[in-house]
């Protein structure tokens, strides 16, 4: 009989005495890098441009990117499970067109609002069911969803439709005071509330843990007895709902609906998630990361507007370069932990 050693065989890296410098947990590195980049960009703006120090610059970031923020929240859920949702931009266009058309037709606004949100969620649920039960690739299933939603939107109306409804115009003109001089819109608040709810759900609920587990390994999650089918359909439902919410926010912001609205939003949302450190293979990332990603996106546009003489094409190029930087960073971080 051998005597078992009382000492643990492995040493905990946290008490490694050679480690003197503070090193953040590797899972926070991408999000910290995004935060650092955001601060550097903001400081760069402060140094180079007059009036950049106005609080409205920061507040308007949320106002101008409320739609993208709402969509990115839903996209985060889907990407965390290792999937992808290409249909969000089309769902935005369907929502804006349908909302504007119904309101023009004299439907009560309090009926239209839940109706379009539920429709978005149902579209998402349908795609989720096709992905899970028929084993169609998420890429292909949501691509078909993109065609379907935009096709429906164009079928309803190809023109831009104005909204004259009283509730919508009131909501559009509503300003919420923050401090003495700055105000923000309702849409920015709604988008931020969506971020908070999503963060709470992912961090503290059983559903949130299931989302991360499926992203880590769907097979293991199934063997552990986690409800894979329910969770997977739920994340696409959430994404569809968030996209519809984004569409509603758009109609409130612009008091109009247009079937060509939201083209390419899916890519902006995916890019925001990646810049915010959400791993596209699934299983790692935070909603706050996606929030930071959207902020980086918005700040680039703001700086290019402040600069004034730059071509709008630079926005895309800078976003591309940032994507490259963050992906390589993620690659280095994940390689080290392996």
């Amino acid at each position: 009989m051998t005597v078992m050693s009382p000492q643990p065989v492995t040493t905990d890296p946290a008490i490694n005495p050679r480690r003197r410098v503070y090193r953040p947990n590797t899972k926070y590195i991408p999000i910290l890098a995004t935060l650092a980049l955001l601060l550097v960009m903001y400081l760069g703006g402060l140094v180079n441009y007059e009036n950049f120090d106005q609080p409205s610059v920061v507040v308007n970031l949320f106002r101008d990117n409320a739609v993208l923020l709402a969509v990115a929240v839903g996209m985060t859920f889907v990407i965390l499970t290792g999937g992808i949702d290409l249909s969000v931009g089309a769902v935005i266009s369907l929502t804006t067109t349908l909302t504007a058309t119904l309101l023009q037709g004299g439907w009560p606004p309090l009926l239209v609002l839940p109706l379009v949100l539920i429709l978005g969620a149902l579209l998402g649920a349908g795609m989720g069911a096709v992905i899970h039960y028929f084993r169609v690739e998420p890429f292909i299933a949501t691509l078909a969803g993109l065609f379907l939603a935009r096709g429906l939107a164009l079928f309803i109306n190809q023109e831009s439709i104005p909204i004259r409804d009283e509730l919508w115009t009131t909501l559009s003109d509503m300003r919420i005071p923050l401090g003495e001089t700055t105000k923000t819109t309702l849409t920015a608040i709604v988008a931020l509330v969506a971020v908070l709810i999503a963060a709470a759900v992912l961090a503290w609920t059983r559903f949130g843990r299931n989302v991360y587990a499926i992203g880590g390994s769907a097979d293991s999650a199934l063997l552990m007895g986690l409800p894979v089918a329910r969770t997977r359909i739920a994340v696409y439902t959430i994404s569809g709902f968030c996209a519809a919410l984004g569409g509603v926010l758009y109609t409130i912001n612009s008091t109009s609906g247009h079937a060509l609205q939201g083209t390419g939003t899916e890519l902006d949302a995916i890019a925001s998630c990646v810049i915010g450190g959400v791993l596209l293979t699934g299983g790692a990332g935070y909603v706050f990361g996606s929030l930071l990603g959207v902020m980086v996106f918005g700040l680039i546009t703001t700086i290019i507007n402040f600069q004034g003489d730059l071509n709008a094409a630079w926005t895309r190029i800078v976003v591309g370069v940032l994507l490259f930087g963050f992906i390589v960073l993620q690659r280095l971080v994940t390689r080290r932990t392996r």
């Binding site: 292909i140 096709g151 071509n311 895309r316 591309g320 390689r335």
Partner: protein, 335 residues
């Protein structure tokens, strides 16, 4: 039942059905006029050339388990480079110079493919993200090349690429078919096809078996870039200008769709060149048919969406089993 079970049965059946619809609805399906063939069928073949080229490159990329989202942006860059250089020519109708410029544009596209391939194979980034970078930044680059303008060119040799006819057939289609033939010979008459499928099945196992998996991965992205560049030239020659915003917009989605319809699995390890060609022609036929049967323009996309949904579901083995399997079971149960 063996024909029905062939994975190309449903796409070909739908293609034939659409062509029959066109036979009745279009004024001229196929006739000989002014020394070349003319009619709805020829329009379909000519129009499908860019999509066939892009989907062909996409097939090779997907067979190694990758994906190339940047093809639309590469098309825009290639057209922009070509039109910019042709516009500066003293004589825009000089065939030699135009051919040289087209070579330059394709070389630029291949270099962009090399960038994608290096990111995937050397840096080890997931293909969908690696090519997303160029997809986002590439269109910005194309806009910088053209300075945000639409560059118009008046070059007859350049226009021939898209609108010319050779041996009664459209030049654009012949270019696409030449590319298909080249790839077919390379993949099915040499070991290359096997190597591609091997890398798609398992890159590390292939490497251990002595295959240079990285080199093959880089190569498929270069080929995909070059073919996208060629497609961009056909697109821009067709409209005789470089439009950096509209060129190749959303073509990556159509190309991926064509590949999937053709029976190539998105996870890699298996591919069908013939299937891709059928898929690409099917998508183009669908677009032509929608117009020719008089579906109002606002319902065009909806019609396409319905066909795409039906196709995607019919491709899913699980769906066929769940829906049609029930009938089969009943007939097999002895009375």
């Amino acid at each position: 039942m063996t024909i029905v079970k062939n994975r190309l049965f449903w796409p070909v059946a739908i293609l034939v059905a659409l062509l029959i619809v066109n036979l009745f609805t279009s004024n001229q399906f196929i006739t000989l006029q002014d020394g070349h063939l003319f009619g709805a069928l020829i329009d379909i073949l000519r129009g499908s050339a860019p999509l066939i080229l892009v989907a062909l490159g996409m097939t090779l990329v997907i067979s190694t388990g990758g994906i190339d989202l940047s093809v639309g942006s590469v098309m825009a860059i290639s057209g922009a480079v070509a039109c910019l250089l042709i516009k500066d020519l003293g004589d825009q109708n000089a065939t030699g110079s135009v051919l040289l410029i087209m070579g330059v544009a394709i070389a630029v596209s291949a270099a962009l493919g090399l960038w994608n391939g290096s990111l995937v194979a050397v840096v080890g980034i997931q293909p969908i993200i690696a090519t997303l970078i160029l997809m986002v930044a590439g269109r910005g680059l194309a806009q910088l090349v053209t300075d945000g303008q639409i560059i118009n060119v008046q070059s007859s040799p350049y226009a021939t690429v898209a609108t010319g006819f050779f041996l009664t057939l459209p030049v654009a289609f012949l270019i696409a078919m030449a590319a298909v033939a080249l790839i077919l010979v390379l993949t099915r008459r040499t070991a290359l096809g096997l190597l591609l499928e091997s890398v798609g099945g398992s890159p590390s196992a292939s490497r251990l078996a002595g295959i240079r998996a990285k080199r093959i991965t880089v190569m498929v992205y270069v080929v995909s870039g070059a073919f996208a560049g060629l497609a961009g030239l056909i697109y821009s020659a067709n409209i005789k200008s470089a439009d950096s915003i509209a060129a190749g917009n959303l073509i990556e989605l159509d190309a991926i769709l064509a590949v999937v319809i053709g029976g190539t699995a998105l996870i890699g390890g298996r591919f069908s060149i013939a299937g891709t060609v059928v898929g690409a022609i099917l998508i183009q036929t669908l677009q032509v048919t929608v117009v020719s049967i008089g579906v109002p323009s606002k319902a065009t996309l909806l019609f396409k969406a319905v066909v795409v949904v039906v196709l995607c579901l019919s491709q899913s083995a699980t769906f066929r089993e769940k829906v049609f399997g029930r009938f089969k079971l009943r007939s097999e149960v002895p009375a």
